[in-house]
């Protein structure tokens, strides 16, 4: 298990932020077709969770997977190519944004069905337990808790005591309620989301998704417990929705994120300004590191320059990558070898 330094953590978060900005741009330019989901505002969660994982650990993600995969070390070029449906993508254009997976990095299967990945993640954790090595981080959204699949996964994980961190990203919490307070929803009647896994004898926790240090502390502790054989853990990460996520397709309310915003400058849009000030994990983390003297503006700008270059390369790679040969549609329906014909 490694632990990132402050600069590396900013780099990892900014990489996600800038990657998603490129997706939004490419969608507006109609180079990215179809529906897609971005991870803006939740970057600290993926970074804090994935950097604690080893090679034989697994993650299971959803339609909102870009951040999880980047944090796990996926190549932005091959991700972007996949998102554009190109042959250079991880799945040769078959998965697109919805089901991006990178088996070599322990992200073997991504489900775009609400509740779909929980039973899978649980099964991978059962495999880890049987083999005596590895653990699973299962990312899912708050609506996942409305599916029966969620419930059955909780039952099985608790009965089997498998090594899994159920990581519920609750991304529609008002800032004031992020650290404490009841969760209120018109569709899930729980007073607190954690009450449900708790009722099935799973140890739970709530953490502020805009506070990278709190996330690192929480996940470090929980993954250690899980690795020691204590069984599943459930954590609700509370994030506040980024204003650009409200339309049917995400939009950049005020252009790309500015390093200057972390250093006193304000964006034009008031809703964005409020969100940045109180709920942006990236901005808050930079500001904290600057205040404590761990980072200065020029370092942040250098990180940003590196990330921008990476993303430009990713977009170029993706745009240059050819569309797949139509015959590729017929490949990989069944794995070869096991079949005798």
């Amino acid at each position: 298990m490694k632990n990132l330094g402050v600069a590396d953590r900013v780099l990892a978060m900014l990489r996600i932020r800038r990657f998603e900005e490129q997706c939004i741009r490419l969608s507006a330019e109609k180079k990215l077709v179809g529906h897609y989901h971005v991870y803006i505002g939740q970057e600290a969660t993926a970074v804090a969770a994935c950097t604690l994982l080893d090679k034989d650990d697994f993650i299971f993600s959803t339609w909102r997977n870009h951040g999880h995969l980047l944090a796990r070390g996926a190549d932005p070029r091959r991700m972007m190519a996949e998102i554009l449906g190109k042959s250079g993508g991880y799945a040769g254009g078959r998965s697109g944004t919805l089901h991006l997976s990178v088996a070599a990095l322990g992200a073997p299967a991504t489900s775009a069905l609400v509740g779909g990945n929980l039973p899978l993640a649980n099964g991978a954790a059962l495999a880890c337990k049987q083999r005596g090595s590895g653990m699973v981080v299962n990312f899912f959204g708050d609506a996942g808790m409305e599916e029966g699949a969620f419930y059955e996964a909780m039952i099985l994980a608790s009965v089997w005591k498998v090594p899994i961190l159920f990581l519920c990203e609750n991304n529609s919490i008002p800032p004031a309620l992020r650290k404490r307070g009841q969760f209120t929803s018109s569709t899930l009647p729980a007073k607190q989301l954690v009450d449900v896994p708790k009722s099935l004898n799973i140890v739970t926790e709530i953490v502020d998704g805009a506070d990278a240090d709190a996330l690192v502390e929480c996940f470090t502790r929980l993954t250690a417990e899980i690795r020691s054989g204590a069984g599943p853990r459930f954590v609700e990460v509370r994030c506040t929705r980024w204003p650009g996520s409200f339309p049917l397709f995400p939009e950049l309310p005020d252009g790309e994120w500015q390093v200057a915003w972390a250093f006193g400058q304000k964006p034009d849009r008031q809703d964005l300004a409020v969100w940045l000030e109180h709920s942006d994990p990236l901005l808050l983390h930079i500001r904290k590191a600057v205040a404590s003297g761990e980072l200065d503006r020029s370092q942040v700008e250098a990180i940003d320059a590196q990330v921008r270059a990476e993303m430009a390369a990713a977009v170029r790679f993706a745009l240059d990558s050819p569309y797949p040969d139509p015959q590729e549609a017929y490949r990989h329906v069944l794995a070869q070898g096991g079949q005798t014909r």
């Binding site: 179809g34 254009g93 078959r94 998965s95 779909g116 797949p324």
Partner: protein, 326 residues
């Protein structure tokens, strides 16, 4: 009056809510990610808010709620959203709704309608592009309606909500929502269970349903214009009941059948039609039956790959030419 498919649906739902207090909605999406189509639902949302239930993402529970409400005397319409999500509801749709009337020996009726926005919608990829109709065809006790045009979107939805006494799966299609047709709302509709001859012809029968209806019509146009071939287009309208008679009659006339259906090829809707011809129409077949289907491949995301698998007018034309030995 010209209406779109989406307008036909929204209008039928509105009229049925107005006409019968037992009609209620469990969910109210219906139009997927299409903002133009979504607008058509505004009158329903405004006028009948009290009869629309808030819905968590719990498809199994929602389907069951519709069945239970029907059993208790209501006439619910349940929005099961994207076709692929009906699997979440399968235990209730397949093993409860379809069986209750029979298991009760006719004591209980189940007038529930499940709405499923199915099909290959363009970049929906493997987990959002299912066409569950052939699978549901294996379930006696269900009615499966598949409008191929805006007027049938209206007529069939109206029939399901007002007249049907049995559990019904209403299969809509994301790429049909903007299709238009002439609607005469007062004209008597073709009975449910009867196919619609959308175009008369003598050389080959193109048998279609749902999204393949406009494509078969386009194919018929090409066949006539470019090849001088007269194709008859049969729109099945429902696959349970399935109007085998009209199919057999058309093929008796033309001697040739091309079945255009968006299901995967193996065990799809086209298989049942072809089997019917092999059993009951063999003598009239002048050429092998031709199925034009989605190959047995999960639906890929990339536009180029999806296009390779899509049932198009051109593929229907090619199939028709094959049956004519050209």
């Amino acid at each position: 009056m010209k209406i779109t498919f989406a307008e036909g649906l929204a209008r039928a739902i509105h009229e049925c809510l107005a006409a019968d207090e037992r009609v209620m909605l469990i969910g109210s999406g219906f139009m997927g990610l299409n903002p133009v189509a979504q607008k058509t639902m505004e009158p329903v949302l405004k006028d009948f808010a009290a009869r629309i239930s808030v819905t968590p993402i719990s498809e199994l529970g929602l389907a069951g709620a519709g069945i239970g409400a029907a059993v208790a005397g209501m006439r619910p319409l349940v929005d099961l959203s994207t076709g692929s999500f009906i699997f979440q509801a399968f235990p209730q749709v397949v093993n409860e709704a379809a069986n209750i009337h029979y298991m009760s020996g006719g004591q209980t009726t189940v007038p529930v309608t499940f709405y499923s926005l199915a099909g290959m919608r363009g970049s929906g990829a493997a987990q959002h592009s299912h066409r569950p109709q052939a699978m549901l065809g294996q379930v006696p006790g269900l009615q499966i309606l598949m409008p191929g045009g805006a007027e049938d979107a209206y007529y069939l939805m109206k029939w399901a909500l007002r007249e049907s006494r049995n559990p019904t799966v209403f299969i809509s299609h994301g790429l049909l929502l903007g299709e238009t047709a002439e609607l005469d709302a007062d004209a008597p509709m073709i009975p449910v269970g009867r196919a619609r001859i959308r175009r008369d012809g003598g050389d080959v029968s193109l048998i279609a349903n749902s999204i393949t209806v406009p494509r078969a019509l386009a194919a018929a146009g090409i066949l006539e214009k470019e090849h001088g071939i007269s194709a008859e287009v049969v729109d099945l309208r429902s696959i349970a009941p399935l109007d085998r008679e009209t199919v057999l009659r058309s093929v008796a006339k033309t001697g040739r059948a091309v079945i255009a259906d968006e299901c995967h090829r193996s065990f799809g809707v086209a298989a049942e039609i072809a089997a019917t011809l092999a059993e009951e129409g063999l003598a009239s077949l002048k050429a092998p039956v031709c199925r034009v289907n989605t190959p047995d491949v999960p639906i890929p995301f990339s536009t180029q790959l999806e296009a390779e698998l899509t049932v198009t007018a051109d593929k229907i034309v090619a199939g028709a030419l094959r049956t004519l030995g050209r």
